[in-house]
């Protein structure tokens, strides 16, 4: 089954054509990477898929269902999880509470007033596992404000994983991570790959080329090329618009 389809998405901001007729598909189990210059519209595209930004026209289908008019949380409840390019966390919460909040989203609503959220051992162990995956287990009781920038980026991903997603949207998961953490994160993504369909936006070309099954290149809101990593690496247009020298390295 196709996990995710966008059809002719269009979005303008005043004079800026941020998304220009974007159609793409993410097949089940596939890692589809989107690359493109800054301001090409990658985050805007993710926003439209997640439901935060309403497209001017076009459709989004998730797991075979048209979700164009659904709200953000309804899409999330269908199994869509995302990370943000610019960290979005509950600042005064501990790392664990942040993930716990995500874990609690697995049930589509949670109007439980009585039991202590920390007494739910299932949820807690699930959350701890998510923290462990990104290497943040030691930081579980620190509040977000006390985490270094890179650690916050890791937490960002732990939260998306903890919701038990069916489709993952990752907006620059490696941004802000040091080389060491990047390597660990690439390994993690590799292990996730195949299990979840993933739409990945990333500027780290080493990561993109080693992870992606398919790459689409977005320039000025338009997909100018789409294909296997090899095809993209050798595409002249892409090299001129985006990759520059790096592809040869």
């Amino acid at each position: 089954m196709t996990a995710l389809v966008t059809e002719n998405l269009v979005k303008r901001f005043g004079g800026v054509q941020a998304t220009d007729n974007v159609s793409l598909t993410v097949e089940d189990g596939q890692l589809h990477a989107i690359i493109g210059p800054n301001g090409a519209g990658k985050s805007t595209l993710i926003g439209q898929i997640a439901g935060e930004i309403a497209p001017d026209s076009g459709h989004v289908a998730l797991l075979g269902k048209d979700v164009t008019t659904l709200s953000v949380f309804a899409r999330a409840n269908l199994g869509l999880a995302r990370t943000y390019q610019i960290t979005q966390l509950a600042k005064e919460f501990t790392a664990l509470d942040n993930v716990l909040m995500a874990t609690n989203a697995r049930a589509s609503h949670n109007f439980s007033f009585w039991k202590n959220a920390h007494d739910d051992s299932d949820a807690v162990s699930h959350s701890l596992a998510a923290l462990a995956k990104v290497g943040l287990l030691d930081a579980k009781n620190r509040t977000v404000a006390e985490l270094a920038h890179g650690e916050q980026r890791q937490l960002e991903i732990a939260m998306a994983l903890a919701t038990g997603p069916k489709v993952l949207l990752l907006d620059e998961p490696l941004a802000g991570m040091s080389q060491g953490e990047s390597a660990a994160m690439i390994a993690l993504l590799k292990s996730l790959k195949g299990r979840y369909p993933i739409l990945l936006v990333e500027h780290d070309m080493d990561a993109v080329f080693s992870l992606a099954d398919r790459i689409s290149v977005l320039v000025y809101g338009r997909i100018i090329a789409s294909g296997t990593p090899e095809e993209i690496r050798n595409n002249v247009e892409v090299r001129a618009a985006y990759l520059g020298e790096e592809a040869t390295a």
């Binding site: 997640a50 999330a76 979005q88 966390l89 509950a90 439980s112 920390h118």
Partner: protein, 326 residues
């Protein structure tokens, strides 16, 4: 959430203060004896304010929704006693039931509109609703308009006898205890976690799949209900209901109580209520004793006191005490 200990530490200052406050309240009528009727009534008023503040704190401290109109639910509660009483309905349970039903309907409606906005706009729109209800009550000519309505007798609760001052006092005390316990449970529950999380980062909560609006609306209605019960009690205490109970100044006072006590702590509102009302009671006497000419200017001191508390303590009086284990 550092403000909220996950387990109770019996030796933490917060716990000790909480226990002392509760114990004092529990024993107060005994301590002051028969002669102290005035103190019992005063303490009842403190409890009633605390109850309303506990309600407000639920959305303000934990949900980040600064309602500047919660006095309207106090007023609503009071009128739900006075108007039925005018029509010879004196059962207290009926009064409470009417108050809860009316409040649920009104709060759900007002909340649904108000929650479209956030931040300062939310403050103002809740104020707007309260003002509308206030002017509505002022124009109720058949129910006394702004002169208000007097109650012939207190409500009649079959099991609790609140016709005596001590009876009403303990009734209010039980209400406060229940409200404290409920909000303690709710805040630590998944519901509370999500409510607090939505306050900290709404966008993220939505993206995780939480229907934030619904959570907030439910919390808003619950908090309004606490205020309505406070209104029912206030009407019984003063045997009077008037639009003044819904004035924006009272809404403001509730906010002050919550912040003074300690935003986002479960017990803070009670401490805040004790502090503010006790000061309003003590300061005039104090000033009179020292500078008799300036007795009527005691509010100057109250203002300064509040100002310096806000400046010095980041999390209110109770919130600044050390809590339990993190």
């Amino acid at each position: 959430m550092k403000l909220l200990p996950t387990a109770i530490d019996w030796r933490a200052p917060r716990t000790i203060v909480a226990i002392v406050v509760i114990a004092t309240f529990a024993l107060l009528p005994v301590l002051v004896g028969d002669e102290g009727g005035f103190y019992v009534k005063f303490a009842t008023r403190v409890l009633i304010y605390a109850l309303a503040a506990i309600g407000l704190n639920f959305i303000l401290g934990f949900g980040g929704m600064v309602s500047f109109g919660h006095a309207m639910y106090v007023m609503l509660g009071a009128y739900c006693v006075a108007i039925p009483a005018q029509h010879e309905i004196t059962s207290g349970w009926a009064h409470i039931a009417i108050a809860l039903a009316m409040t649920t309907v009104i709060a759900a409606g007002a909340g649904a509109v108000a929650l479209r906005t956030t931040g300062i706009a939310f403050i103002m729109i809740t104020l707007a609703f309260a003002q509308m209800l206030f002017f509505g009550a002022v124009s109720l000519k058949e129910y006394g308009g702004d002169d208000g309505l007097t109650l012939a007798t207190r409500s009649n609760f079959a099991l609790f006898d609140i016709s005596s001052n001590a009876g009403l006092y303990y009734f209010a005390f039980v209400c406060v205890l229940v409200a404290l316990y409920l909000s303690w449970r709710a805040v630590l529950s998944p519901f509370g976690l999500i409510l607090r999380g939505s306050k900290a980062n709404t966008r993220r909560a939505l993206a995780l799949g939480h229907p934030v609006f619904r959570y907030q609306l439910v919390a808003y209605v619950l908090s309004a209900l606490a205020c309505a019960v406070a209104g029912v009690l206030l009407a019984n205490l003063t045997q009077f209901a008037s639009p003044a109970y819904g004035a924006w100044t009272l809404s403001g006072e509730l906010i002050v109580i919550v912040i003074l006590g300690g935003l986002g702590t479960v017990f803070g509102p009670l401490v805040g209520a004790v502090l503010l009302l006790a000061l309003e009671e003590v300061l005039p006497t104090l000033v009179e004793a020292t500078l008799p000419d300036y007795k009527s200017n005691w509010m100057l001191l109250l203002g300064l006191f509040i100002f310096f508390i806000a400046l010095a303590l980041k999390r209110g009086v109770f919130g600044s005490l050390r809590g339990g284990k993190q």
